[in-house]
């Protein structure tokens, strides 16, 4: 057992390291209590001024004692639970990220309840117990390893037993009930709209998941989050050994640790007297109680009480060695030897979550702090969190809040909650509200210990003309450290008030923001990392593509085979071979990823007429039409084919990447603009596997696989579809082409996809091709790819597709924009083809075009850019598609592509470079 542990304190020994030295603590310690027990007073030097700093508080409000624990960059020593092998280092303001891979797992849980109680102190436990009695589903969350809030700190009794014991038993009893969930070591850190609260549960390094986020939706919330003791700004208030009185009391009662040998207590209120009493009982010599008030209410149990006094100086470079106390109204000071200075400026309700919920605060002049005023959400505040500071009061207040919450959530409170007995408390004498001990020079009156901000800094800010606490915070950085100003925030406001002669209530606080306590990045990312960052979507043919050695392209969430290299082939040769196969014989591509939306309902045709620029209502059942969708600004948004299955049913095909966006788009119009239309849209992308069969030989291949289907051009014309059997599988065959060749798209149930594909490949004459070949083939034909050859600034007319815009329809999305001055400008950018003067020169996609063969000084106006660029076997040349200003009027013109100091000449041509007559379509 270590030197500063109370004699007789029992506990299992835990070994740990701090700053390279080995120490022992006991199970149940925090790193801070263990350090204090070992007599370690200085944790680190302060970041800006290099002053030694120690442990100031005992829980999440600690401003000073920051440590690095292994790969964890910045933790408060006061919240780190001691465990064997813990290796910590004191930090001066900055933590360190390490390269070590975080292999831990993190989870998230969704939970719903009638009443969420935050805090398992006396008020929270009473609230949860009462609410649970009504049959309400209750969640009670508490951030501590053991229940009771301040009870284990104060050693008060409840119902005749030690408060901590009562709390543990009460929480265990709740835990045993079926509809109650008890979350220990769980900090509620965010309060969002609609009573959505988030909490982090610390489960330990070796648990199944190290931490998990609770996403809680509660009908009613009871905030029983307690209060923080307030610091006082005085000269030297940052020395190791200066500590909040209640925190020192906690170290003694909770951990059996004596944070010093001889203490001076500096207080504005009664609570520090109890702290002094407990510490004295534990073995700390109380040298004096310095009370700012003229008349304290209670005796000091034999300790000297200096009324109307304040602390004016603290001696000792490495830590408190003496305390100078002086009468408040001036006069000679007196130096008292001590190694501990306990401070209490009163208690501030912990209003963070209430404030996050949108609730307003008001300043309560009686207790000298901000308290919850009007709520914006379904929330109650109970106990010290709203300024009730007696134990009996907290129990009663909590019970009442629990009853109100349960009732508001629709439950009946039957009977009354018997508030457990607590010892009589002397009525408290009024506290004084002193934030600042006047001094000649405020350079060591600290308001924010971690940011090394002093009263002098705050006064400099107000002296510079600043009036708002937000400005002062930003000017001085007070309140921006790891503790987010839990102790310094209101103190800063108070000092601003002092400097400007304004009441604290007028100044208010800075905004309380989530998270209430720091939360790990990895904790929030949860399982959504690595492969699960975004779902991977693969088609039913995927395994075949993998086996065949295809590299994949990410298109949206999909993995699409890019090309199928044979032994010794690079991408270029493979793609040229695949292109040749389609143009000369037959190829097959997995087209399953194209988005498919089933559009049904009596008004389906009318709906599609409004969504597409062209007419869909005239489409015959059994026929297919290509269509374009525009945004209201007239710019192309998506394209694809529409097939009519029945009078009231269509299947809409979208681009792969845009499928979800198109469905959202349709729903947005249906739900917000045209709720009268009776139309239902369903995504069926994954229901189908689609194999595109393309090339002059495709008809023969299809005929062989589908003996029951009349495949001749007359029986099965272009842009029609047939239900049939292919390779013995129920299939829908569409005669459409994205390559200009005779082509079919065979659709089967996704389960049958692989069988179909294998049958197609089993013919021995079909070459598989990937997205790259598809891109080349369609580009040779001048078919644009939405998102590649368009960018949200391109109209159908710009693409040379005037024909797709109906002149007959009364209206459709985008129609009005086509009449706008700019949309009908003749020098808009048009989709054109480009042939480089050097047929071997492949233009980079994204390169720009200029008019001149020498490049002028910037800024050089651009004529447009290359959208697609490939090598073409059939053209015997490279070629590109480009959007070029006034492009259609530039046919034959030579333009230049500036590339790394070179001006590469290209000739403007039609965007349709191959088979402009469309002769190959019918095979």
């Amino acid at each position: 057992m270590t030197s500063r542990r109370m004699t007789g304190w029992q506990g299992e020994t835990v070994r740990f390291r701090f700053d390279g030295r080995d120490y022992e603590g006991v199970r149940g310690d925090t790193l801070a209590s263990a350090l204090l027990a070992n007599g370690v007073r200085t944790v680190a030097a302060s970041p800006a001024l290099g002053r030694p700093r120690g442990i100031y508080a005992a829980w999440t409000e600690e401003p000073n004692a920051l440590v690095q624990v292994a790969a964890e960059p910045m933790l408060q020593a006061t919240t780190v639970e001691l465990r064997d092998g813990l290796d910590a280092h004191g930090l001066s303001g900055r933590g360190r990220l390490t390269d070590e891979t975080d292999t831990a797992r993190y989870d998230a849980v969704h939970a719903h309840c009638d009443v969420l109680v935050v805090g398992a102190g006396p008020a929270g436990l009473a609230a949860a117990t009462v609410a649970a009695e009504t049959g309400a589903r209750v969640i009670i969350a508490d951030d501590r390893p053991i229940a009771g809030g301040s009870l284990p700190d104060t050693a008060e009794t409840v119902g005749g037993v030690a408060g901590a014991e009562w709390a543990a038993a009460t929480l265990d009893a709740l835990d045993g009930r079926p509809d109650i969930r008890v979350l220990r070591r769980t900090s509620v850190f965010g309060y969002y709209d609609d009573n959505y609260l988030v909490a982090v549960e610390r489960r330990g390094e070796h648990a199944h998941s190290r931490e998990r986020v609770w996403r809680i939706r509660a009908r009613r919330v009871v905030l029983a989050t307690g209060a923080h003791e307030r610091p006082i700004a005085f000269a030297g208030n940052d020395r190791p050994g200066v500590m909040l009185a209640g925190s020192a009391r906690a170290y003694a009662n909770r951990h059996g640790v004596l944070p010093g040998d001889r203490a001076v207590v500096f207080t504005t209120n009664d609570s520090a007297y109890a702290a002094a009493r407990d510490l004295a009982a534990a073995g700390v010599e109380i040298a004096a109680i310095v009370d700012t008030r003229a008349t304290p209410s209670r005796g000091g149990d034999g300790v000297e009480i200096l009324t109307g006094h304040v602390v004016t100086a603290v001696g000792g470079d490495d830590g408190v060695s003496s305390v100078t106390v002086s009468p408040s109204d001036g006069g000679a000071g007196r130096e008292i030897e001590a190694d501990l200075l306990l401070v209490s400026g009163g208690w501030s309700p912990l209003v963070h979550l209430f404030s996050q919920s949108g609730g307003d605060l008001r300043h309560d002049d009686g207790i000298g702090s901000f308290v919850p005023a009007s709520a914006r959400q379904a929330v109650e505040v109970a106990g010290a969190a709203r300024g009730v500071f007696t134990l009996a009061g907290c129990l009663e207040d909590g019970a009442a809040a629990g009853a109100r919450a349960a009732e508001a959530a629709g439950f009946r409170v039957e009977g009354t909650f018997e508030v457990p007995r607590t010892p009589d408390e002397d009525p408290a004498a009024p506290a004084e509200h002193l934030w600042l001990v006047p001094g000649a020079d405020y350079s060591t009156h600290f308001v924010d210990l971690q940011r090394d901000v002093t009263v002098a800094d705050v006064m400099r800010a107000t002296g510079a003309g600043l009036r708002s606490v937000e400005h002062v915070k930003r000017y001085t950085t007070a309140g921006t450290a790891h503790d987010q100003g839990k102790l310094s925030g209101v103190l800063t406001s108070a000092v601003v008030g002092h400097a400007l002669g304004l009441p604290l209530g007028d100044l208010g606080t800075t905004t309380f923001r989530a998270p209430y306590v720091p939360v790990g990045f990895a904790t929030l990312a949860g399982r959504h990392r690595g492969a699960l960052h975004d779902p991977v979507r693969t088609t039913s043919l995927h395994e075949w593509h993998v086996a065949y050695g295809a590299p994949f392209e990410n298109v949206g969430q999909w993995k699409r085979p890019w090309y199928y290299p044979r032994a010794g082939e690079d991408m270029e040769t493979a793609v040229l071979r695949e292109c040749g196969a389609v143009r000369e014989s037959v190829g097959a591509m997995d087209a399953s990823t194209l988005g498919k939306i089933d559009v049904q309902g009596p008004d389906a045709a009318e709906f599609l007429d409004r969504i597409y620029t062209n007419m869909m209502s005239t489409l015959k059942v059994g026929a297919i039409r290509y269509g374009v969708m525009c945004r209201p600004d007239g710019m192309v948004f998506d394209d694809g084919t529409v097939i009519r299955l029945a009078d009231d049913r269509f299947l809409v095909t979208t681009t792969t990447g845009n499928a979800a966006a198109v469905l959202d788009w349709m729903e947005e119009w249906l739900q917000t603009e045209w709720p009268g239309l009776r139309v239902y849209c369903t995504s069926v992308t994954e229901h189908w596997a689609t194999v595109a069969l393309a090339g002059p030989g495709s008809r023969d291949v299809l005929a062989g696989l589908a003996p029951g289907l009349a495949v001749d051009a007359a029986s099965f014309p272009f842009m029609t579809w047939r239900d049939t059997e292919v390779a013995g599988l129920a299939a829908r065959v569409c005669r459409i082409s994205f390559s200009g060749e005779l082509a079919y798209e065979i659709n089967v149930n996704a389960w049958d996809g692989l069988a179909l594909w294998e049958a197609v490949m089993g013919t021995g004459v079909v070459t598989p091709y990937g997205t790259e070949t598809m891109h080349v083939l369609r580009a040779e034909k001048g078919y644009p790819i939405v998102g590649q050859d368009t960018d949200g600034t391109v109209t159908p007319a710009d693409l040379g597709m005037d024909w797709v815009v109906s002149k007959k329809k009364p209206d459709f999305i985008g129609k009005r924009s086509f009449a706008r001055a700019d949309t009908s400008r003749p020098d808009r950018k048009h989709l054109v083809g480009l042939l480089p003067a050097d047929p071997g020169r492949l233009l980079p996609e994204g390169a720009h075009l200029v008019e001149t063969s020498t490049l002028p000084e910037p800024p050089v106006p651009t004529l447009g850019h290359v959208t697609s660029s490939y090598r073409s076997a059939v053209l015997g040349s490279t070629f590109a598609l480009a959007l070029v200003s006034g492009g259609r009027d530039r046919m034959g013109e030579v333009l230049y592509v500036p590339l790394g100091g070179e001006q590469v000449p290209v000739t403007v041509t039609s965007h349709i470079l191959y088979d402009p007559e469309g002769a190959r379509r019918d095979g």
Partner: protein, 404 residues
Amino acid sequence: MRDVPEHPDWLWSSPEPKRSYDVVIVGGGGHGLATAYYLAKNHGITDVAVLERGWLAGGNMARNTTIIRSNYLWDESAGIYEHALKLWEGLEDDLGYPILFSQRGVLNLAHSLQDVRDSVRRVHANRLNGVDAEWLGPDEVKEICPIVNVSPDVRYPVLGATYQPRAGIAKHDYVAWGFARAAAAMGVHLIENCEVTGVEVAGGRVQAVQTTKGRIAAGTVALSAAGHSSVVAATAGVELPVQTHPLQALVSELLEPVHPTVVMSNAVHVYVSQAHKGELVMGAGIDPYNSYRQRGAFHIIEQQMSAALELFPIFARAHVLRTWAGIVDVTPDASPVVGKTPVDGLLVNCGWGTGGFKATPGVGWCYAHTIAHGEPHPLNAPFSLERFTTGALVDEHGAAAVAH
């Protein structure tokens, strides 16, 4: 070592508003303050009041992630942002204020073949416009920012990035205070806690504004109210094509330097820099719903963390210290509106959405010109309100898909 610079001893005073001014600027954000500064400095117009409903520069100016760059796609955008960047390069001296402008470069990552095309396109466009820009492969990305995960084995591998070396970050508050202090020193009145509740129009001409501190007459009323622009303009009968959304950001604890530049990714949606004090500063996309409240939804933060760890596995054990939101004004083409309105004497500057911090000096310069001359500066002329009628949009949405 102090990690923040010494501020000047005097910033600005808080005068009571006069009954009338030549120019009233509505909104004391970065833009309003920069405009006031350039009005006084470039045009000698000092009978100016900046009216701010809350504390000065407490809106988006105080909430943004301070990324400054000019590598926009379209010529119109490159024009005004590059003008701004050139001003940034001299701003510290010009204002006599340590604004911590750090040209540490910005990487915009590409994760798909289409990202690559779009990025290369933007690099070529930037070069033609005299904007410094490079296209980097994954290895070069790694050289500039060693902590970026460029492994091919992740969900969306980094296929490359555009890099603008002159881009960087600055300290938003100090920029605002620098402008405020310099403007106040030239006689501009900065009036806090003064909300404009109405714009008075008679005979098609602006007359005055109604405020929580009374009526203030003005020759010109120049709106610069960011997220509230459409609300204020509506009181003058002017409808703006602006939707207001929350945009969130967050910081970590202070960390030793690990991240030397600024990294932005649209596909793995997050952007990150490490500020001067050492905190990681991060943001992502807007909250999808319209709102005038400065708060967002939690799942946006969760998604952002997942994205951050994809790109920067080293951040796993860092902690989120503080999150917040601003409300941003988004136009249909994601480009700003700076210019005249149908009401004589009522000018508007808005629509900067998620990316107007970087424009602060540039827009101040051009808006001041517009106020002084009654006609737009050539650099803001393309950003007229009229373009939503003519269709001459400057679509940075679809085309570049890069914001902030």
